[in-house]
């Protein structure tokens, strides 16, 4: 009887571990193939068959991407927008969330509702485009990439809820010592709120890193475009570096190699902060799951 049960158990385990292993492999294989293609010489790619693991390695694809000026420029632009955009967002969010977390904030419910409403209803693409481009004339500037998406109702509510859970007695004690709200925020709230600030910063930061659509909408100068947009052009619209490098001084490398190398280079920063991402995103998701 006992043996039979454990046999059942083993079979069950084999199935569960097997399916999960399969899922894991299915997630990894595409990335492996991209790495392999990015490292393979052209004659390898022309061969029929699987390209999961590299047979021969060449760095030609990477050399070509790195010698392509616009990629560097785009990388820099993305870093600039990510850093400045995230910093500005977090500042505005922290200040607003702090104020709205106070039960005595005048008309608190009304102001919160004003913000929450925008989570469910928006003007949509065209009115936003007209506002940013035609009315505010932000087109073709960094502002168009960092201001229109400055804060979301969701991020604000998450942060406000976190602040609300900080006991008001800290505040009262600080007030007796003569501290004003800015000082209380800085010296009492910020040190206690590191996890939520990290979480929301990462949300906003990854959003900036992956964003391309606003760059396509608002930016006209080639040298102001962000990384994801340049990647998109390179990979999906088939802009050939051959054309742009015109003179043809380079030896031709299969452009697939180059495309995949560009993909890998764009993922490296995400991969580097992935341990933090995983930790804080999961935490944030659980915080967000808490009822409003």
């Amino acid at each position: 009887m006992r043996i039979k049960k454990s046999r059942e158990n083993i079979i069950f385990d084999i199935i569960v571990y097997g399916i999960l292993l399969g899922m894991g492999i299915m997630t990894i294989v595409p990335f492996l193939q991209v790495i392999t293609i990015s490292l393979s010489p052209q004659e390898e790619l022309a061969k029929y068959g699987m390209h999961i693991l590299p047979q021969k390695i060449t760095w030609a694809g990477y050399e070509r991407v790195l010698s392509y000026g616009p990629i560097w420029r785009a990388y820099l632009n993305t870093i600039i927008r990510t850093v400045s955009g995230t910093a500005l967002s977090i500042m505005v969010l922290i200040l607003g969330a702090y104020a709205l977390s106070k039960p005595y904030f005048p008309h608190r419910k009304f102001w919160t509702l004003i913000i929450v409403f925008t989570m469910y209803f928006s003007g949509g693409l065209i009115p936003r485009y007209i506002l940013v481009n035609n009315v505010l004339k932000m087109g073709n500037t960094l502002f168009a990439l960092i201001i229109p998406g400055l804060a979301s109702g969701f991020n604000l509510i998450i942060m406000r809820n976190f602040f609300s859970n900080i006991s008001l007695s800290y505040e009262e004690a600080a007030k007796i010592d003569g501290a004003n709200h800015f000082q209380i925020l800085r010296h009492v709230y910020l040190p206690l709120s590191k996890p939520i600030i990290a979480t929301v910063s990462l949300w906003v930061g990854v959003g900036h890193w992956n964003e391309w659509f606003d760059s396509m909408l608002y930016i006209r100068d080639e040298n102001k475009q962000v990384l994801q947009f340049v990647l998109r052009k390179l990979i999906l619209e088939g802009t050939s570096v051959e054309e742009e490098m015109a003179a043809g001084t380079q030896i031709f490398v299969n452009s697939d190699t180059m495309k995949m190398a560009a993909l890998i280079l764009s993922m490296i920063p995400v991969l580097m902060i992935y341990p933090f991402l995983q930790k804080h995103f999961v935490q944030g998701l659980k915080l967000g799951g808490v009822k409003e």
Partner: protein, 310 residues
């Protein structure tokens, strides 16, 4: 103290704004931002009822009433786009919705913590990668000459299929790649729900001789049923929304008839063709339905939440 509290609770006056002016100044950038960048476009919805000329501005442009909405429903372009949007959402609901639940249940059956952690780490990863990059990867994986799936197909004696450019396959590509990207991430909320199940239930079931499969069906699933239902309600509430990032990056001329959805259509009509009024009308139509559905979903979820308390 008590007295002043009740008075101030009753009526907020300008005096309170003065008293808490520092707080109000702190919130000012946020309020200004929401006023300009969220309520500005809502005001801009007026152009759905106008013939917008950029030189005249929104207010001075001529009114056309419901003309754009008429064009929308009488024209031949919008209805197929609406249909595609709903069909894609429906497929995502049928196939995409259960996927993370199944993953969460499987992960919960794993006793080796390290294995569990590795699978989680791996399956969460694609969530953080942009659709621009993932579209490049999808094209590579489904390539007729190099993609592993096509290589398997030819090994089995089938013709290779150009999935991404095939009208019959494109929806499968959308649903499949979305599951691939989000399955791990989506499982987090269900895993959290499973950890809330009382462990003694499993112990008792074990003593009663319930098999592991029985424990899944009689303990785990009922234990997370509430969360599943809430998530389902919200997923249904989003049925008219589509994933612009995904579809725009994967679509190509050969699959337009099945790939074109409301967001991509709005972009094309509004930004490319500069039919501002018409595209805004399409957006307004979508947003109104979306708002109604999500509000309905919220209402339903709240109602269910209350019931589950008792």
């Amino acid at each position: 103290m008590q007295k002043t509290m009740t008075i101030s609770a009753k009526k907020t006056t300008w005096h309170d704004y003065k008293k808490h002016s520092t707080l109000f100044i702190m919130a000012m950038p946020l309020f200004l931002y929401f006023f300009i960048f969220h309520y500005g476009p809502i005001y801009g919805l007026l152009i759905a009822f106008k013939e917008y000329y950029p030189l005249k501005g929104i207010w001075a442009s001529d009114w056309v009433g419901f003309e754009h909405f008429k064009t929308m429903f009488q024209g031949i372009y919008f209805i197929p786009v609406l249909k595609n949007t709903l069909i894609n959402s429906l497929y995502n609901l049928i196939f995409g919705f259960p996927a993370p639940i199944i993953l969460a249940i499987l992960l919960n059956e794993v006793s080796n913590r390290r294995f569990k952690k590795v699978i989680q780490t791996v399956t969460y990863f694609p969530h953080f990668i942009s659709w621009v990059v993932l579209a490049g990867i999808v094209y590579e994986m489904l390539s007729p000459s190099r993609g592993p799936i096509n290589i398997l197909l030819t090994m089995l004696g089938f013709e290779p299929i150009f999935f991404v450019a095939d009208v019959k396959w494109f929806r499968t590509v959308l649903v499949g790649s979305n599951i691939w990207k989000e399955i791990g991430w989506g499982s987090i909320i269900y895993l959290a729900a499973i950890t809330n199940i009382d462990p003694t239930l499993y112990e008792v079931a074990k003593i009663d001789g319930a098999s592991r499969l029985q424990r899944i069906f009689y303990i785990t699933l009922p234990g997370i049923a509430n969360v599943v239902i809430i998530m389902l309600i919200f997923a249904v509430g989003k049925i008219i929304n589509d994933n612009f990032d995904q579809i725009f990056n994967l679509m190509n001329n050969r699959v337009m008839e099945v790939a074109d959805v409301i967001s991509t259509y709005t972009y094309r009509e509004g930004i490319k063709e500069m039919n501002y009024g018409y595209a805004t009308a399409v957006g307004l139509f979508k947003n109104t339905i979306s708002f109604t559905l999500v509000m309905g979903a919220n209402w339903l979820a709240k109602k269910m939440g209350q019931e589950t308390l008792f």
